[in-house]
């Protein structure tokens, strides 16, 4: 079932495509570069343990289609279109569509500096660390895709960049808020009480049409890459409030107005990478629904042994510590956690890569193990294998405890075109 927000985004995309087609008709004489690429994946996820809640199944299969269409005109402007569609056999909520990208891009010069304008739906990533993307706030998380919060929904925005030797200043105006996606009743990796994402509530009277603003300054200074950011608007992270409804008790996402200041720094020195992400967030409520301004940070390092034992293999070790000043009242599961990970990059024709990480909650006994294997099969085919295992789950660790039986193994076969 496609939700209304997705429909709106799709409609907007259709209008943009129409504009493009119309435009290309008008300038029929001008040469327009058109490219189509993307990927189709067949995926299968298996949960060895029985679900904690009735109607959950052991197995979910499906496919993903994510093409990308790119137009470029002779005069220099371009348009990107990336629709996304997933079908999932187990959870109807997880079968969903989105417009990841549908934006016009223009750029030019002013003296020694450069301007760039991106208008439409786009994805923007801020940050440097691997474990938990603290600073990254422009896009909503497409959580139903993967519990690692790496996948993001498209965001409608006007994005202006002004850059020069002094760095890059970026300004964002976002007129529409996307709701986070959550698993449905039949899905795994969900809390005991269903999150009803069809009925969100907002602090702002403008609801999802509140105009959000953000800005970021970034610069590379020798071995340092630094970013400073500010966001003022509708929180991407909802509070989950329980409500009685005709169907029984449900959790309703509530989106507050927040202000967040962010800092991200990376120091690259020989084979070392040192990373820091820190935020200060104001006007948000904690897990006990009390207003609490807080700081949180992720600090870590990565070291790579290149060409180990005279082979082509690179071996990396990384460690990151995530800390949230709200402690046990933190609204996420990363209040005081340590991530230790290793990566083996074989640098072979198949680009084989093995990644393994273990996340340890320092306040509870909970551990999470992730193993990923990526390998290219041919020029167009590739595969991924992933294992996510939760163990020693602490009953006190409320957020993880509800998904304690949801360890899984997942296989993807991708056709890239």
């Amino acid at each position: 079932m496609l939700c209304w927000a997705t429909l709106k985004q799709t409609l907007l995309g259709a209008v943009l495509i129409f504009a493009i087609v119309f435009n290309s008709q008008v300038c029929a004489n001008s040469e327009i570069d058109l490219q189509l690429f993307g990927h189709v994946s067949v995926e299968s996820r298996w949960y060895p343990e029985n679900g904690a809640y009735s109607s959950q199944s052991h197995h979910a299969s499906g496919f993903v289609l994510e093409p990308e269409l790119y137009f470029e005109s002779v005069s220099g402007w371009s348009f990107n279109l990336v629709p996304f569609f997933r079908y999932d056999s187990a959870d109807p909520e997880r079968s969903h569509a989105d417009l990841r990208e549908a934006y016009f891009l223009l750029f030019g010069e002013i003296g020694n500096s450069e301007w760039e304008l991106r208008l439409g739906i786009d994805r923007v990533f801020w940050g440097v660390v691997e474990s938990y993307h603290l600073v990254d706030i422009i896009n909503q998380t497409d959580l139903i895709e993967h519990p690692d919060e790496e996948v993001e929904l498209g965001q409608l925005m006007a994005h202006v960049t002004w850059s020069g030797e002094w760095g890059a200043a970026e300004f964002f105006a976002m007129p529409h808020h996307r709701e986070r996606t959550f698993p449905g009743r039949r899905g795994r990796l969900r809390p005991a009480i269903i999150i009803d994402d069809g009925r969100p509530s907002y602090e702002s009277s403008a609801e999802e049409w509140h105009l959000d603003f953000a800005a970021r300054y970034s610069q590379s200074l020798g071995a340092f890459d630094i970013g400073i950011s500010v966001f003022d608007g509708t929180s991407r992270e909802p509070l989950l409030r329980s409500r009685h409804h005709d169907d029984g008790l449900i959790l309703v996402p509530h989106y507050e107005q927040v202000r967040q200041f962010g800092l991200d720094v990376q120091l690259t020195s020989n084979s070392w990478l040192f990373k820091l992400e820190a935020i200060h967030r104001a006007d948000s409520q904690n897990l006990r629904f009390k207003e609490e301004d807080f700081e949180a940070f992720v600090i870590g390092g990565e070291y790579t042994f290149y060409s180990i034992l005279d082979s082509a293999i690179d071996f990396s070790v990384l460690g990151e510590w995530t800390y949230d000043g709200r402690g046990s009242d933190a609204t996420n599961a990363f209040e005081d956690d340590l991530l230790i990970a290793t990566r083996l990059a074989f640098n072979d024709i198949q680009n084989t890569e093995i990644y393994a990480s273990i996340l340890e909650d320092r306040q509870h006994s909970t551990n999470a193990l992730v193993v990923e294997v990526n390998r290219r099969i041919s020029d167009q085919w590739s595969m991924n294998l992933e294992l996510l295992s939760l163990f020693n789950v602490d009953k006190e660790d409320v957020q993880i405890d509800q998904t304690r039986r949801d360890s899984f193994i997942e296989f993807h076969l991708n056709y890239n075109f």
Partner: protein, 273 residues
């Protein structure tokens, strides 16, 4: 050389100076007093100077990777190079195939003495990542080319020793040894063949840290652009230890395009296509 002598000596010595210059030209193209190290450095400087002023160029690159059983695999990418007069060049590589890395882009700011700066753009995550440049000896996309074989060959990155002159095809080549300054280089030394006429690379032999002859690179199909700049159309790298090889073909060379500094920034990298 002769011009310098004209400017700096009094006329009374001119005749003698000219005579000396002509004489040395016939005996040997180098000064007799120069050490092999000085001569090697001089040749490298001249070759570098010979290619100065190209400003920028773009080209398409196709690599065919072959293992010892003859199985082949192809890589396609687009290359953009910007000349930076007082420092190392800036390079941008955009990958077209294999399709799983389509749109991935690598930005390198080479430096004469400091380590290079490298950023990788991952289109699926829309993430620009600063990466370590300590992987100099690592394989470029699984090929037999290491990163250090492809990034700017700045004069300062090596010390030199002239060895000999010898025929190479119809031309005469100078053969020099060069030793990487960077301790992270995968090589102990390289043997370089440059022709005397145009100072083009014809062959490089790579010797690993244990001084074993690891790889040989040969250059073919040279073409001249803007009546000055020579570029090879074909480069073949053979790994003697593994029996693997990589053929790199260059096409659509375009010089002095509208590229500038702004295309080689982190913001420009996000737009790279």
């Amino acid at each position: 050389m002769i011009a310098i002598i004209y400017q700096n000596v009094r006329p009374v010595f001119l005749l003698f100076a000219l005579h000396f210059a002509i004489l040395t030209c016939f005996v040997s193209p180098k000064l007799e007093s120069a050490t092999p190290e000085e001569m090697g450095l001089e040749i490298a400087r001249k070759a570098d100077l010979r290619d100065e002023g190209f400003e920028n160029f773009t080209a398409q690159q196709t690599m065919v990777l072959r293992n010892k059983h003859g199985q082949e695999s192809q890589r396609q990418l687009r290359v953009k190079i910007l000349e930076i007069p007082e420092d190392g060049n800036k390079s941008l590589f955009v990958f077209d195939s294999p399709r799983d890395v389509q749109g991935t882009a690598l930005l390198i700011h080479s430096h004469k003495e400091a380590p290079d700066d490298q950023w990788l753009y991952l289109p699926a995550l829309k993430r620009v990542k600063r990466i370590s440049s300590s992987n100099r000896s690592g394989s470029f996309m699984g090929s037999e080319f290491a990163y250090e074989d492809l990034t700017a060959q700045e004069v300062e990155k090596f010390t030199y020793r002239y060895l000999r002159d010898e025929p190479c095809g119809k031309l005469t080549c100078t053969v020099s040894e060069r030793f990487p300054v960077d301790k992270e280089s995968g090589y102990r030394r390289q043997l370089v063949w440059l022709d005397q006429d145009e100072l083009r690379f014809w062959k490089i032999q790579y010797y690993d840290r244990k001084d074993a002859h690891l790889k040989t690179l040969t250059f073919e199909n040279y073409e001249q652009y803007l009546s000055k700049f020579w570029r090879a159309g074909l480069m073949k790298m053979v790994n003697h230890l593994t029996g693997k090889s990589t053929t790199m073909t260059w096409a659509n060379y375009q010089f002095r395009t509208d590229l500038d500094d702004r295309d080689f920034t982190k913001t420009g990298l996000r737009r790279a296509r």
